[in-house]
């Protein structure tokens, strides 16, 4: 269980990192909480490891007019303890304690989780659910890719070879009473989930839903935003039976994964139950939230 030999470089700028990426068989390391096990098991055998963890400007949490922008190498623990995240992106704050466990969150980064694109990963699920985007540096150009177009499938992203994830943009919702819900199920706490669901809703003064986002992950090859559910629920008072029916229709239409741990039927049932729970949690929290 020892990695095969590789070369280690630590570029001091984003441009230098991209230049190093241009060589074949090089791979980015930030927190390394997924990559190092893959190296140890020799599932990955890169020739060069490019450590971006200390590049100035790649870490940090910044508030913009309509978004919280989190640098790619920001450690998960920093976002978990950030008041900016708690205030602006409460759904992310709710989901972060489910990511790995505390010691891996102390090293693991947000950008790394999205670039790795594990179907069970919570951070890409939240980013897709909120309609966020991935800020990418590609051949000296910075551009944004919508999260739902970025994550293509298990461990597959739209990131071009030689490109680098530099930040994640999480939309901030304002106006009305906001509530969030996040649920997942796995064999044991902090293990890979079989199914996960994330929800964020806004209620007006009369308790009607004015905005709704719901996504499911882990059961599907990549996180999916259920826009059909959101459009059915906006305008309603989010009665549980109404939520259940909308979720059931949408989840029935999804492509569900199977493995030795859980059948597709089980994952589909779990996804429906968890999405319903996430939405009712979000609704209940919004009902109690200040306007």
């Amino acid at each position: 269980m020892k990695p095969a030999p590789f070369e280690y470089v630590r570029p001091t700028s984003i441009n230098e990192a991209c230049a190093a990426l241009a060589t074949d068989e090089s791979v980015i390391i930030a927190g390394g909480q997924t990559l190092i096990p893959m190296l140890a098991m020799r599932l990955a055998r890169p020739a060069v490891l490019i450590d971006i963890a200390r590049i100035p400007g790649l870490a940090g949490i910044r508030e913009e007019a309509d978004a919280v922008v989190i640098g790619a190498t920001t450690r998960q623990v920093e976002a978990e303890r950030s008041t900016t995240v708690a205030r602006g992106v409460p759904l992310l704050a709710r989901a972060l304690p489910f990511v790995g466990h505390a010691p891996t969150r102390n090293r693991g980064t947000l950008g790394g989780s999205v670039a790795n694109a594990d179907p069970a990963a919570e951070i890409p699920l939240v980013l897709v659910t909120l309609g966020g985007s991935v800020v990418v540096r590609d051949a000296a150009q910075t551009h944004e890719i919508a999260a739902q177009n970025f994550v293509l499938g298990p461990m597959m992203t739209a990131l071009a070879s030689g490109a680098l994830v530099i930040a994640l943009r999480f939309p901030v919702w304002d106006g009305g009473r906001i509530g969030v819900g996040f649920h997942e199920i796995s064999t044991r706490a902090s293990d890979f989930a079989f199914a996960a669901a994330a929800a964020q809703v806004v209620l007006d003064a009369a308790g009607r839903c004015t905005r709704c986002a719901i996504g499911v992950g882990a059961a599907t090859p990549r996180p999916v935003r259920l826009d059909a559910v959101a459009s059915k629920l906006v305008g309603s008072t989010l009665a549980e039976t109404h939520i259940q029916a909308a979720v059931a229709d949408a989840v029935d239409a999804l492509d569900i994964m199977v493995d030795s741990h859980a059948s597709a039927d089980y994952r589909r049932r779990a996804a429906k139950a968890l999405a319903t729970r996430a939405l009712t949690d979000a609704r209940d929290a919004a009902r109690g939230a200040p306007a």
Binding site: K2, Y8, G32, I36, A40, A102, P103, R107, A189
Partner: protein, 168 residues
């Protein structure tokens, strides 16, 4: 590659291959064998060390990534040779260990928890050690040990601002 590490308050210069994990470097280059090598892929928590006071898995970090951090291993937890820290003592008293393989990781996880949350709930304790596997105790006595240590620290008159390994 040459790396300058800060381990238990002392500077150490080591020559390692880039693929050397921090746990192998601590054990093989620095002789600090209190940090145990378990699964070597981030599952078991036996190799837990503190990095700037926070628990991390030293098998999920390369030695060449570890410069510039204050690294604390189990060797620096006791206040003096032949003595035990409050947490170590509580583990002995409540039989919080049997074979001892997971114990260094459990102790460091507990030390970090109690520094961040001096009065942890049972849920805080369970959540903190959920990242560390113990195959002997069934965890019950470990939870008891950490709760006992918290109670004793609260009643202790020793200042607790300093991290283990740092001079008081």
């Amino acid at each position: 590659m040459k790396v300058e590490l800060n381990v238990n308050g002392a500077r150490a210069s080591v020559e390692v291959e880039p693929r050397t994990t921090l746990v192998d470097c601590l054990r093989d280059n620095l002789g600090l064998t209190g940090t145990h090598t378990g699964c070597e892929h981030g599952i078991c928590g036996a190799c837990t060390v503190l990095l700037d006071g926070e628990p991390v898995r030293s098998c999920l970090m390369l030695a060449v990534q570890a410069d510039g951090f204050a690294i604390t291993t189990i060797e620096a937890v006791a206040p003096a040779p032949g003595e035990l820290s409050i947490v170590q003592d509580a583990f002995c008293e409540t039989h919080g260990l049997q074979c001892g393989f997971c114990t260094p990781g459990m102790i460091l996880t507990a030390e970090a928890l109690l520094r961040r949350i001096p009065n942890p709930t049972r849920a805080d304790i369970v959540s903190a050690i959920s990242a560390n596997i113990c195959r002997c105790t069934g965890y019950g006595q470990i939870v008891e040990a950490i709760a006992l240590a918290a109670k004793r620290m609260a009643g202790s008159n020793v200042p607790r601002e300093t991290a283990p390994g740092e001079p008081a």
